[in-house]
Symmetry: C2
Subunit: 505 residues, 2 copies
């Protein structure tokens, strides 16, 4: 057995323990009675400790060195998948050894303590309660970012981003975001004016019985291509997509007075799930067989939710199906009215409620602030002021309190820095992918208008899902669309959807 | 940190991985879509491999030796819990190192292959199809039994029994079973005659809507003392009790035409669950903090199902509750009619359908045959003949085919030898415990007639659950009831329930 083969076996075993943790994580959110929480925390901690031990075992370092030497002598014949896999193995190994275990433990404790305090502080809109805890969290995240940065010869913030999405750095993101900021300054008032000239959205009457919504969501998800012999749809307080490629677990929540939160939420998670289901089985449980990162993942969920499900074509198919389930006046279920309901533009304080046009502003704000926090250019105590000033600059509104400002998201209070850009990189990538699909698959919109996503799915399976983790984010975009990420496809999409007078359509 | 403290930490970590496997096992039976089966098999195999590695780590042997030496010098002051825990750790370690890993793997493969063939062979009632596979299974089980027997200085069959229930050997079981056989020879025809003289059971009309049954089962289970903040009740094809003490998972199946299978099944699993929930938390995740074995476990499930739930006292309380749910003629819900329905005696071929009076005959047959198989005194090819002859001797009936004979149970075909006695040891222990409870807690029947199991539960928590794995089976019986297991309390219970003319009651 070659050193590389031994590494594949080691990483398969590590991935299998990770699969166990993934199912246990799902169970904790969906099934577990409250009494199980303490023991579940221990179970997940022990599994993650075992993964760390297995990843940093002395024999791992030896096998890596031997395999790298063998592969270097083999350059012309090298299988690019094996080469990428070996590089990712080395990367995974270095990530695990880069951080001293006392720092990992201190971060874990500080993050848990801060997150717990944040829950109360957010409710009370009291940043001062969370501030000292967040200071610890930021200090330890900076320490970790420096250690990772040294290991990977990256700037500290880039090293944090790299933990969520490799292959794109802050220096790549900054110009894309700057261009979008300029676009938005012009586009937002125009979109608002066009919206004001159009007719008001008429709400669907409801009620929307929860059982009917749930069954409909599963049918729509299955119709989009998710195989429910290898997936489940359940309920949880915070919807997510989990599990493993052959046993995917997506969740949603339901509200009897409203049906789109669940439908669009389930279709979003279905996009994530289709990515996992479409990963290359030949590299299952290998680093190169995983998804390419969080921005790539978000591109797949938003391709389905924003590009497909909020399009006129899909809504023209969805409308009659909703009418059959929920009844009332058929005129409410036209693509025009559903579009008004589902694409309403508004300047709001809350990221998760934002429309796709303003959503990037929320992310740009966070990207700049977290970069400054990690660089030490912004003190935690100054965060509320910097937040409100940034919000005023980007959207022209100032949060009336920190609950609707810098306390709204869990991410920083749980120690996650470098994650936020993924949301907007994903939204932009989804538009760029959709433009490429329209070029390569001319009948894709006609099929969507029949509720048929198979032409689209065939393309993304080939161009994205099937590539696994072979390429970093920008290389994946190049391979799939011919160019690295840029904001223009997204802007063209928004221009067509929000800046074209409906009367002209 | 002392060697013993290090061992406690090691075993806690091992137990925590076992907890993860327990939840994953539940998920596989209750939640998992079919596509997840292959990966789940890998996940459980890797976790059990990790448990084996952690148990047999070289440092484990060193710590065991050091801790044993330290404790030997400390005899008078020794904490009996710590002493028992250390002995159980040594036992666990020896069990893990006793079997060469190629034998463990060969058994696992042979058992899986045989079980798969058995499913078809049972349906076709074709023992010859399963016979060569069972020969492999028996050969490898014998090999394992010899290796374990040498390690523990036990007879090979005793070493297999010991894996399911320590503290009782075949030589202890044989006289108890022989006495019961003699009792049954006289009791069975008398019980049949008495039953024939009594009135026929009148079936409840039904239907029994599945959702109503499920909600009722959970209420009855909670009323018996199971805390559903630390437990769940779900559906599965084969009911079982799983999970961990703070997160217990019990399952049932439901049939719209019948309600007692689910009610008695859930109460049986509730007995198992109450045992787990009542284990000593001070020794959680330690070998001494676990349940004392399968016979002890079955004593707890059968205490609830047979001793409590099929008693006149409990049925007099249950009847009106069933009537309120399912309606019909109130006269059908008297304790007398419910007793006739739930305590019907019949000479049948199938163990799992047997009444408590004849059930031990099914177990005695299997105990004798499996002992002979492991001893090499019975060839696998001769099993059908030996089975049918034994059945004729014990119950006076001969199975018309092997489906209703030696092919009916999965146990042997899955490699489990030494397990069967646990069922009847548990049934006998339950009667012995109930007799002791009636002595110590005089108002226990009056409380049961009010649906109140708390006096009974208080007693078993103190005398059984709270003792964890401190004592082996017969020592536990001595501590709780003043004597080792004997068949007489069970016979007295059956005499009162089946051999007393109803007109005389």
């Amino acid at each position: 057995m070659s050193a590389y083969d031994r590494l594949c076996a080691r990483f398969a075993r590590i991935a299998t323990v990770g699969e166990a943790a993934a199912i246990l994580g799902w169970d904790a959110s969906v099934m577990m009675p409250p009494g199980g929480a303490a023991a579940r925390g221990d179970q997940l901690a022990v599994l993650s400790g075992l993964i760390h031990e297995m990843t940093t075992a002395p024999a791992m370092a030896e096998d890596l060195a031997d395999a790298e030497q063998a592969m270097t002598g083999d350059v012309p014949a090298a299988d690019p998948w094996a080469a990428a896999n070996l590089q990712l193995m080395r990367h995974r190994y270095l990530q695990s050894v880069a951080l001293p275990s006392d720092l990992v433990e201190a971060r874990s404790r500080a993050n848990s303590a801060c997150e717990a305090v944040w829950r109360g502080a957010r409710l009370a809109s009291d940043f001062s309660a969370a501030c000292p805890y967040l200071e610890d969290v930021v200090r330890l995240a900076r320490e970790a970012s420096v250690a990772l940065g040294e290991t990977f010869a990256m700037a500290p913030y880039d090293a944090l981003m790299d933990g969520f999405q490799r292959g794109i750095r802050a220096a790549d993101v900054e110009p894309v975001f700057t261009e979008y900021e300029a676009f938005l300054e012009d586009a937002l008032p125009r979109a608002e004016a066009i919206q004001a000239r159009g007719g008001a959205a008429k709400p669907l009457p409801g009620p929307f019985p929860v059982g009917v919504q749930e069954a409909l969501c599963q049918r729509l998800s299955a119709a989009a291509g998710l195989d429910y012999n290898r997936a489940r749809l359940d309920r949880s307080a915070h919807p997510f997509s989990g599990g493993i490629p052959t046993d995917i677990r997506i969740t949603s929540r339901y509200n009897e007075n409203e049906c789109f939160q669940s439908i669009m939420g389930v279709m979003h998670e279905t996009g994530h799930a289709l990515y996992e289901a479409g990963l290359p089985t030949a590299y299952a449980r290998q680093p190169v067989g995983e998804a390419s990162g969080m921005a790539a993942h978000e591109s797949q969920s938003l391709l389905i939710e924003l590009q497909v499900c909020r399009s006129d074509a899909y809504l023209s198919w969805l409308g009659p199906r909703l009418h059959a389930e929920f009844g009332g006046d058929a005129a409410l279920y036209t693509a025009v009215n559903l579009g008004r309901l589902l694409r309403h533009v508004e300047r709001g304080f809350i990221r998760v409620e934002a429309n796709e046009l303003t959503y990037p502003a929320h992310v740009i704000l966070r990207f700049r602030l977290e970069r400054a926090l990690i660089a030490g250019d912004l003190m935690v105590a100054d965060l509320p002021g910097a937040w409100n000033e940034g919000m005023q600059g980007l959207l022209g509104i100032t949060p009336p309190d920190d609950r609707r400002g810098c306390l709204q998201d869990i991410h920083w209070y749980d120690g996650a820095f470098g994650y936020f850009p993924s949301y907007t990189l994903g939204a932009m990538a989804a538009a760029q992918l959709m433009a490429a699909i329209r070029t390569d698959v001319p009948d894709v919109d006609a099929a969507m208008a029949e509720g048929d996503l198979s032409p689209l799915l065939g393309w993304v399976r080939r161009e994205v899902h099937g590539r696994g983790n072979l390429l970093g984010f920008n290389d994946l975009m190049r391979a799939a669309t011919g160019k690295p990420l840029d904001a223009r496809a997204f802007e063209a999409h928004l221009t067509a959807r929000y800046l074209t007078d409906p009367s002209a359509r």
